[in-house]
Assembly symmetry: C2
Homo-oligomer: 439 residues x 2
């Protein structure tokens, strides 16, 4: 039995790092070096884990408790435990915005949710309320008046820009760009072998029109020469989504939109931009969001051996009919709809659809969005919706509908999931399959 | 029976287009509009087809004779036929260069050949003599002294540059770039269903160091502003290959090297460059080198519906052991080697190798070329060679070795050939498979 005072005296690697959890005392000194979240863990040293685990809800998993139990050294004194419990921990998620009840929730705290896939392709522009939500933490509430964007690593020294500066000193540009989570369609990887991460369906992807200042314009104003800053990427410091202020869930007051890259690089609530010749050393750049061979497991993974996911590969999925649905045999025709997108500004040029599990293929009609001018070469940032109306195969009682897309570099989707399976469950882009009954 | 004079009087669409072939007379007026080679066919109007078919050897196919036979209107008079035959037709291929006897020849006239695949990966830089050869016609013999490169569509009017101008007025740049024929690995498509085109194995791909003037430098000298002409593409007007004058088979005196694009865009013996906002209307850009759905056949193909192949998708193949070879069981180990490459400057970041037909995978060691600096992001133009040394599975009598590559956009190769099959047999990049016996 230890007193709180004894626990509190262990707050560094030199003195040892002790924490408490539900009345247990744990010496986690040796664990600090292997903590996936890095030395942030030291913030909890000498005290209770509960407030931090409430904030970083990723810890609420059985295997985390198993790891912790290995480090148990004793119990906290009953008196100190009682004191600890009397401190009411406020729920850090209590100020999260209200969300649409139609969303399919993958985790509540932090909030991660996708739209119902059947309605995803009903609108070329995804309404902000149903645009997929991806959060690692509570949604920050940022005061727009005191907000400053710090820009560092500039020829003329650092810049601090107010929201007003961004809105008035630079022309507003709009870009229609699709964002996709690296973990979109992870559930299909989970079906073949368990991976780590949220169990996304096919709808961790959405399309919006973003408005804001060009990062290029800000860098030019900061002293960069025009030749040094390519405009091809269409990178935005976005303060608008679909014509309105950015919603809190999508980064209010400011997010970066880096068209053609994985959602993770489209940082929300951005506070600081550092121009650097070095790749960011952050956890999300170095130790996560990387792809590995299906033969790589948690014992052999070497994060340094793979590049960070930036551009995503070609993707498509069937949004309608839903898997397990029934289609009317009497109509003698089936309508198949979905989305298709590719990273790096590569345009989707064809979607093949099969009604027989991939034996024969028909070409779907692509829809690039009404009123959308054709994108310049290499700058096709938005998805295409697609549709195929095809006769029902005579006598068919069941259809196995499959889709696969081709982009302007003639990249194609892989046939099957297992050979692209990876321990993080990212980059899931095998042919999408649904089975439907003919009624 | 017609006289030569009567045939010769039919030399236009108005008067009808007549030709002779082996003593037959043919009225091909209606065929002119659908001739795959365009109105070049009118050059033969009023005369014999033989000299042209000797030049354009693609006509030496049974189905071409079948098409011709439909247009027969009579016979040439015996006397005129005798005269015609007395005209000796010189072989237009007689001045083609001497080639290395080790090449695997796909067609002699025009000359198309690939290196033996087993030696392809023995050298990071492919020696020019065994670099794959791809010709549509006899090899032009260009006099370097009178050679002029015409550059048109320029702000300051047309330019005519001598070879000396290109070598002395612009700095020489070198780029190591892999070229791949769109039809590489076409033979694997032929195995599942017949396609049109040369039956390439896995070696219609090679890697060389090209030296020449940057197209960008030429365009800047012609009055373009630096912002208008990106340097990211590293496009060369190359007069050197592997440190020597370009060989005749590879475009002497000048070829364009457009790194990251399909071989067809790396035009040899280039005579004229036109800067234009419009896509080239040429046969090779509009009516060939395009990808289609496996469901598209020659009755339904609409060339306008697909974009021209520019950047190629990710590719890899096993060069050793060869398909059907035997490996020594006593060594208890197998060494698998091959190449991997992707278009658009995307770097190959991983090659997975399977010894069991794709059920389990191991990661190969990549070799980027000795003395090669790492390429800048998005400008990885050269292939990687790779090698895996792996224990032989205990008791294995046969191995089905498979490889697949991943590029920096995390594009992957498709699992199988049939779903990417297309009537032209291009873009064949499914997992490569070889079967070997364990001895």
């Amino acid at each position: 039995v230890f007193t709180q005072e004894e626990v509190t005296s262990h707050r560094s690697l030199e003195d040892g790092v002790w924490v408490t959890y539900r009345g247990g005392v744990y010496d986690i000194t040796e664990f600090v070096a292997v903590h996936p979240g890095g030395d942030k863990i030291l913030l909890a040293a000498g005290g209770a884990l509960e407030p931090f685990w409430s904030l970083y809800a990723v810890h609420n998993q059985e295997h985390v408790l198993e790891i912790l139990s290995e480090y148990k050294v004793g119990e906290l004194s009953a008196e100190d435990l009682k004191k600890q419990r009397s401190v009411q921990t406020a729920d850090p998620y209590s100020s999260d915005p209200v969300r649409h009840p139609g969303l399919r929730v993958n985790s509540l705290k932090p909030f991660n949710a996708e739209p119902p896939s059947e309605i995803l392709s009903d609108s070329y522009i995804t309404p902000s309320a149903i645009f997929f939500k991806r959060n690692h933490l509570p949604v920050p509430r940022v005061d727009p008046g005191s907000y400053r964007l710090q820009v560092e690593g500039l020829p003329g020294g650092a810049l601090a820009l107010t929201l007003e500066d961004l809105k008035t000193k630079f022309p507003k540009h709009t870009v229609t760009a699709t964002l996709q989570c690296a973990g979109n369609r992870r559930s299909e990887m989970n079906e073949v072998k368990q991976v780590k991460g949220l169990n996304w369906g096919i709808a961790a992807i959405s399309n919006a029109t973003w408005g804001g200042a060009k990062l290029r314009d800000v860098l030019l104003a900061a002293g960069y020469r025009p030749e040094a800053v390519s405009e091809d990427g269409d990178v935005l410091l976005a303060y608008e989504m679909n014509g309105e202020d950015l919603p809190a869930d999508h980064g209010y007051p400011l997010r970066v939109v880096v068209p053609g890259t994985v959602g993770a690089r489209n940082v929300k609530w951005v506070g600081r931009i550092t121009v650097s010749a070095e790749e960011s050393g952050s956890h999300w750049q170095q130790n996560d969001y990387k792809g590995f061979s299906p033969g790589t497991d948690w014992d052999t993974v070497d994060y340094k051996s793979a590049p960070a996911i930036q551009e995503l590969p070609v993707q498509s999925a069937i949004t309608s009919p839903a898997d397990g649905a029934a289609v009317e045999g009497s109509s003698q025709e089936v309508t198949v709809r979905g989305y298709a997108w590719s990273g790096g500004g590569r345009e989707v040029v064809r979607v093949d659809v099969s009604l027989d599990g991939g034996k024969t293929w028909q070409v779907a009609r692509l829809e690039g969005g009404q009123d959308q001018a054709p994108p310049p070469p290499g700058r096709a940032w938005a998805w295409k919706l697609w549709e195929l109306q095809a006769p029902l195969p005579p006598g068919a009682q069941e259809l196995e509908i499959v889709c696969k897309a081709v982009d302007s570099s003639y990249n194609v989707q892989p046939d099957s999931v297992l050979p692209i399976w990876n321990l993080r469950g990212v980059l899931s882009n095998a042919w999408h399959r649904v089975r439907v009954k003919v009624r």
